[in-house]
């Protein structure tokens, strides 16, 4: 592939990804409340953002849940992929099939069945049940991503490490995990992304005092999605960009 072609292709992909985001950023300054047509410049949505504490609370809740559930799902999922790869245990293939079932289950089925399960257990819905639900639907994505990489691993690497006196934990920690790192990071990123955007499962598994951002956004349909959400997305987008830039500069200096 020629150099030019590569950069053109990358350019097209990023344009595809970022043009809608640019639209969203521009429309966060649109004074129109209802229409998708441009009506004039304003900063009032950012002003509302400052005073809208329920929205901010929901946003923070979302970030906390997304972070906690993606971390838990990544740990659990990596262990699971390793277990599926290395050990033989009863029901191994059946359980792995359930990983696919979760991935395919329509949200509504998963939401209702999980809520029914929590109600049967007598668990009050809230942050904890929400966290469990998010970990559960993120888990398959970590397992499948990590497993795809682990399955290509040369089993003799593990044998060599064992011969050299490493115990099971050390094999996992110092031999397997470093090799899996790109997949683990990929799994974490996917989990975080999924958790941040889930509506239906969250609706059924959260409680009355724990609202999260996607629920608030989807529940705006009655009156139309407010441009305030564009403003919030813009702020979040800017923060992500800054974080990435800073992280890049810091790691660059180190190496």
């Amino acid at each position: 592939m020629s150099r030019v072609f590569r950069w053109v292709y990358l350019g097209l992909i990023y344009a595809f990804l970022y043009v809608p985001i640019a639209v969203l950023v521009v429309y966060s300054f649109n004074s129109s409340k209802y229409s998708t047509n441009w009506q004039g410049f304003t900063l009032k949505w950012y002003g509302q953002l400052v005073s809208d504490s329920p929205l901010r609370e929901a946003f923070v809740n979302s970030l906390v849940i997304a972070f906690a559930s993606s971390v838990c799902a990544t740990i659990l999922g990596t262990l699971a992929a390793f277990a599926f790869y290395r050990y033989r245990f009863v029901g191994r293939k059946v359980l792995y099939t359930f990983i696919y079932i979760v991935m395919m289950s329509p949200d509504i089925v998963m939401g209702i069945s999980l809520l029914m399960f929590f109600v049967t257990l007598g668990l009050a819905t809230g942050a904890l049940t929400l966290l469990i639900a998010h970990i559960t639907f993120c888990l398959p994505f970590v397992v499948v991503t990590v497993y795809s990489r682990i399955s290509g691993l040369d089993r003799s690497i593990i044998d060599v490490a064992k011969d050299l006196g490493a115990n099971e934990m050390q094999v996992f920690r110092h031999v397997v995990m470093p090799l899996l790192m790109p997949a683990i990071i990929a799994g974490w990123l996917l989990s975080f992304t999924l958790s941040l955007d889930d509506v239906v499962v969250s609706f059924f598994t959260t409680g009355p005092s724990f609202d999260i951002l996607p629920l608030r956004i989807y529940s705006m349909v009655r009156l139309g999605i407010k441009p305030e959400i564009n403003a919030l997305s813009t702020v979040m987008f800017a923060l992500s960009l800054v974080t990435v830039t800073v992280a890049h500069l810091v790691t660059k200096e180190k190496t």
Binding site: D52, P54, A68, F204
Partner: protein, 343 residues
Amino acid sequence: MMKRLAFLVALVLLPAALFGAARQVYVFNWTEYIDPDVLKQFEAETGIKVRYATYESNEAMFAKLKLVKKGGYDVAFPSTYYVERMRKHGLVTRLDKSKLPNLRHLNPTLMDKAYDPGNAYSVPYMWGSSAIGVNRKAVDPKTITSWNDLWNPRYKGKVLLMDDVREVFAMALRSMGYSGNTTDPVQIRLAYEKLLKLKPSVKVFNSDSPAQPFLNKEVIIGQIWGGAVYQANQESPDLVLVYPKEGAIFWVDNMVIPSSARDVDAAHLFIDFMCRPDVAKKNCEFIGYATANLTAQNMLSPKTKNHKAVYPGDETVKKGEFQADVGDAIRIYEKYWEMLKTR
């Protein structure tokens, strides 16, 4: 690692623990379907903290309340026939009218409807219509008088229908002179056959933001909420609402106390507060829908009070129909809806 995790879990659980102290009322509603200032005012006046949780559809709210048996929500806002459906499933508590003195301010035309005779379980909050939306640049509104005009081949590929089985069938049933609440399988089938002829003309099904395809110039005629026309008119006068001669379809959002409520007294206090004319006026101005509070309605600016899309006048309301629960016949509707969508 474990310590960090424990900290995170604590962080997640902390807010719940903090707010556990004061008396609270749990409100279950659409996002910002109450003016946030009103909520603050309620908190200041009563000392009861409002916890506001949201849902995106009556259906989802119903399914959740059906599963959550205790420690649920204190006030919910079901639309029209969902009050009846919730009552049939034992999901709502009978109201204590002695705790609701402000009920006298409400509009009598919206009370004592078939979905809740005598308002034993529900109090109307906001209301509105669904009728015919027309882009007056493309279609002369004077030529539109009936639901049947949607079938005019001139508008092929330019029609919008609601993405809601009951709304669409009610429209078709009314156009044939039947009730939009029929449970007669034959009438429902006839409506389906008539809709099948409309299907090729339909560009989009949308009930969340039906004004958008009009403003985006994708459609020129179709079903639309009165409130959506009012909102669109704030920016463009091109979208016009026509009440068809067979009668428009009306909806009412109501306040009810779910049977899983934690604090029934606080719920009554909250509902009564929402019925206070000054509060109802604030909500109405914030949301832009028609208030069910007559006293508040009379306090509004003439421009809003006289906007036909919002307050259609008693004659139009009388001619129209409020949706009622159709019981198990909903499965027949749903079956034909699936067929309509897949054809």
